[in-house]
Point group: C2
Chain length 395, copies 2
């Protein structure tokens, strides 16, 4: 039987090499006063930003831009919003990695409000955002967080009392997302690797999630296939190939759609406190924990008897797909689950995903991390010992 589910609206998606330039036609549909939120470096260095804006300068469109780097903090959002509060913007366009897209999303939502974004962050403030925003177009330059399709913006305050929390509303899903793989070819291998592992994590966590539906399952399965067949290439010989980058970008986009509708699991449960307490890229946290958390999830599910069967079968389906086989018989669950974990371990090694220790995380802090970790929609409840083990094995 199909269990009850709901599925949010998704952005209008425009996918294809060179589609960035469709913006010239799209912007006037919203008005002629636009703010671009862009990343710190690679977009400008690649020359694309100059090429894009030179034509805009000769048009009737008024535009400003802010360039951001690092994961967005409440202060960064509040300051930017203050600067543009009375500028009557018709449209915000975010072009960048996940942090830039989250920042653009948060700015578009906070331009309709007074006071700090902190008031509206889940688990931080006590106000609920009503979804009113300036229209927002998200254009990713990395293939990772899927922020181009999600309804939340992750805001971080890093430090001992730090947090990594979301501003969330169904209406914050970008109005339009443009996926142009030409924007990804200049993304360096280490960033592509961390982002790709993040996208795979999101797809896998949504696929085995307790909130999964046939819609998220069908989308996630294909997303996982695209990422798994291209992740190693995109970080090596295929880095400048727009077809390979396009397949990674597709997987990342889908990861955003499915996480917004099926939720995530223990890896993202851990990423929230780890990313709040330490300055460590989100993709590294997910990538480094992916194989280990999957192994412990599978082991725990195997001890659940019939209750664990559905999620185990789903892990096995992905393990089979990685072997270009199709999961059919139950007697292969074990074999395919092992293959899944071994493949993830291999990727972690080949892609040289950092261990947590490099960012200052040590044994002493594990207890505090575990205390602040939520299970989200993990297919099985893990006890504190197992959660600690995931971190410990990746220090």
């Amino acid at each position: 039987m199909i269990h009850p589910f709901s599925f949010s609206r998704i952005p209008y998606i425009i996918f294809g090499t060179g589609k960035l330039y469709e913006l010239y036609n799209i912007i006037p549909e919203f008005g002629n006063n636009v703010l671009f939120v862009i990343g710190g470096s690679s977009l400008i260095q690649s020359g694309i930003w100059n090429e894009f804006t030179s034509k805009l300068e000769n048009s009737s469109i008024n535009f400003s831009s802010v360039s951001l780097s690092g994961e967005p903090s409440p202060t960064l959002i509040d300051d930017t919003v203050a600067k543009f509060h009375n500028k009557n913007l018709d449209l915000i366009v975010g072009i960048g990695g996940g942090s830039v897209l989250d920042a653009g999303k948060a700015i578009s939502a906070m331009l309709t409000k007074d006071g700090s974004i902190k008031n509206y962050l889940e688990g931080v403030g006590n106000k609920i955002h009503d979804g009113k925003k300036i229209p927002y177009i998200a254009i990713p330059t990395t293939s990772g967080t899927g922020s181009e399709a999600t309804k939340n913006a992750v805001i971080s305050e890093i430090g001992p009392d730090g947090f990594k929390k979301s501003l969330r509303h169904d209406n914050l899903i970008p109005n339009i997302t443009i996926i142009d793989s030409e924007l990804m070819v200049s993304c360096p291998p280490s960033v592509s690797a961390a982002c790709g592992m993040d996208a795979f994590t999101q797809l896998l966590e949504a696929y085995v999630s307790s909130k999964a539906s046939p819609i998220t399952d069908s989308l996630a399965y294909t997303g996982l296939k695209f990422i798994s067949r291209n992740i190693l290439l995109a970080c090596s010989t295929g880095a400048s190939n727009v077809n390979i980058r396009g397949k990674m970008a597709y997987g990342a986009l889908i990861s955003g759609i499915v996480l917004a509708n099926a939720g995530l699991g223990i890896i993202h449960g851990l990423a929230s406190p780890i990313g709040g307490f330490f300055k460590i890229p989100h993709g590294i946290v997910c990538g480094t924990l992916l194989a280990e958390a999957t192994k412990i999830n599978i082991k725990t599910l195997q001890n659940q008897g019939p209750n664990g069967k559905l999620a185990l079968k789903k892990y096995a389906q992905i393990g089979a797909m990685l072997k270009e086989k199709y999961y059919g018989q139950e007697d292969k669950i074990q074999e395919y689950c092992v293959n899944l974990v071994e493949t993830l371990e291999k990727w972690t090694e080949v892609l040289k995903i950092d261990r947590l220790g490099k960012y200052g995380i040590n044994r002493q802090i594990i207890h505090k991390i575990v205390e602040n970790t939520g299970m989200k929609n993990n297919p099985v409840i893990l006890n504190k010992e197992n959660i600690s083990k995931i971190i410990l094995n990746r220090l």
Copy 2:
């Protein structure tokens, strides 16, 4: 490589048995003045309508309802719109089969306009609808057209100069769709059969469409799986089983999402003139032509050499899935394509789908039908002789 594509927004989907009653909470979010557009008989006979409205009568919500039967004509839409033009409606809710949902969609779009809907129909009028509408919630009681997820309303004027044309705009996608399989259990076998064949046709035509994308492919594949495993049951021993009805309803919903984004093929190309010239249910047209048109598409693709390979492979994937096998090697294309056609022929027979002759269609009219048939996004261009043959073999 992934070819460029775009993908429209989809409705907010609420799926589950008994979810009709969520309307009590949803309506006030839009306002307190609502018009229900409902079908002629089964909803009322089942007692659900009375049960539903009795609670509404004791609330602060003002509601009116119009009951419609048959496929909507321009006059029907114009008359209904005239009646409610000055009523300041906040929301339209359509509850019924595809015709009712199309009527509700058209009414919600025309309440913001003056003049006849004819002015806005593709290929009929010369005005372009701007997408402005009264918010619209679509709740299907059959599993067929997928109108609950599409951006068009099909309007028919039947007769020798008749037509079957669409009012279309991205913004006409319903705001919300509620899929409640309890509403489908009273649908009689002959209607369930025609609707199920229509949904399968839409899924298959979108799957092999020249405009298909990885998103529509992943969704359509699972939709086809659900319909194929349940269509015979839903029309026989499983008719009153909400799980089976739910799976059919899921397939129909997905058929709407994928047709809105990948388009359709020759069967719907034929359904447009046939449905305009003759009073014949849309599901019967699609159902009766499905096997024959698929056979001729496959034969034509086989003569195209490498150009036909992609679509043939997709037909083979579905043929393999029907055998609970997975398409892997190219040397099985022929075997799996044959299985697809044979399965469709079997369904047509078992479900007793009428032939066209029963509705007055004969050899003499074939030429006129073919002259008015568009190829839509059929994976291959068929010549007039082959198009005629599809009709001839189903007279």
